[in-house]
Symmetry: C2
């Protein structure tokens, strides 16, 4: 977690950037004292660097002497090519899946040992689930994450097991042998399934999206109430959408002109 | 534009950050030479600072000795509270508008003299338009931007006129007097309308979203082919959705727990 205090980095640039690492989705506003403590910087140094981050637009001051992440980071984040092109290519397929299933649909990419949600459309009549665009979840207990572990090569899986399989619910798979077997079934079926392994009552099914060279670059998933989600039907739908998106990425249509 | 070369900023942190400003949506990959030229930094300095930005995760190296924006910025950008909370509150209304209209729908916020697109759902059968999530357009020639100018106070409008009303199409309103009259009609009607003023053949209609204190915090819009878009029907739909979203923001439901 980035919330822990750490030895102060050496260069001025790294020190300034370390202040941004102090923010988490659950704590979008921090005081000077909290920022100094988390970054390991003396208060006067933190104060000066925070002023520069405000001037540049990465942070803004709150009414109560605190700081929060600001517009410039949103704009830069949306320009990150890896996510931008994938999101734009995937959006029609996500919308189709959402219309067909009326459940929550996600586009996720592997991010080291986690799954990172790049887009989410919520099912109008579906349940509220805790995923968040830009949020990460451990791979071993999510449908999209299992896709990345199943087709991501031995090294990623070994590192995930070495890092420890955290228990999120009573149904999370925390034994390496069971996880190996589950991933084998994932490869056989062609879809990753999460049966209340990340959140009680919530089931998800995900299929791999392949890049131009056949490597898994992303996953599409449908998530909903365990009682209601028809795994067969949703699994077929998500596989069809992921296959169509993979074909679109293979065709590698040249990017259209965009004026923003 | 951030693509122009500028005098090098003074502090090391500001110099490092200025390298990130060199990237634009149209140029997501830049070489060391380009980055040095645009930031006004000597090549060896730029090279050292770029290395630190790579280490932190703001940039990644491309195969050809270049640099591009990377994952950390996407994750931080998605945590920016102003956009995150608004987007989450707006998503059900955007999806409803999209289902009802089958056209492109946008959520935008004012960003100085521009309109900044925070979310976009594309109409399955609708046309491809050039807007982009995280992209900005001048306010005076967009439906959402006109909402921000019409209800944004005299100062914003005066500054927009002073900055010059750029012509994007033959139908862009570039005369201050005509713009004033158009904004008066916008306030009377309750919706901003863009009639091919930003892109030939493209019409849009937008309604204001009010925050807890009655101030305009965002706008919802529907965008489509001029020939096909029913302005009356879409205007009514977008006003209803913006009104419902405003009421939801006023109720100020406490944020739900999110595990990411």
């Amino acid at each position: 977690m980035s919330g822990e205090s750490a030895p102060a980095p050496k260069s001025v640039l790294a020190r300034g950037l370390s202040l941004l690492d102090a923010f988490t989705p659950g704590e979008p506003e921090l005081s000077l004292g909290e920022l100094a403590a988390r970054s390991g910087l003396p208060k006067p140094t933190a104060h000066r660097l925070l002023g520069e981050l405000v001037d540049w637009g990465a942070l803004e001051r709150t009414g109560h002497g605190g700081y929060r992440l600001a517009a410039k980071l949103f704009r830069l984040g949306q320009m990150v090519p890896r996510y931008r092109m994938l999101r734009e290519a995937a959006m029609p397929y996500l919308e189709g899946l959402q219309r067909a299933s009326r459940e929550n649909v996600h586009l996720a990419v592997p991010d080291d040992l986690c799954t990172l949600f790049v887009e989410k459309l919520s099912g109008g009549e579906s349940m509220v689930i805790r995923s968040r665009v830009g949020g990460r979840m451990p791979a071993h207990c999510t449908a999209t994450g299992k896709v990345f572990l199943a087709w991501g090569g031995h090294d990623r899986l070994r590192r995930a097991v070495d890092a420890g399989l955290a228990r999120l619910t009573p149904r999370t798979i925390v034994l390496p042998g069971l996880l190996h077997r589950d991933l084998e079934r994932t490869r056989e079926r062609g879809v990753g399934i999460n049966l209340e392994e990340a959140e009680p009552g919530v089931t998800a099914v995900a299929a791999p999206v392949l890049g131009a060279h056949g490597e898994v670059v992303a996953a599409l998933s449908i998530t909903g109430h365990t009682r209601r989600l028809d795994l067969d039907r949703c699994g077929t739908a998500v596989q069809a959408a992921a296959g169509a998106l993979s074909a679109a990425l293979r065709r590698d249509t040249p990017p259209r002109p965009r004026a923003g």
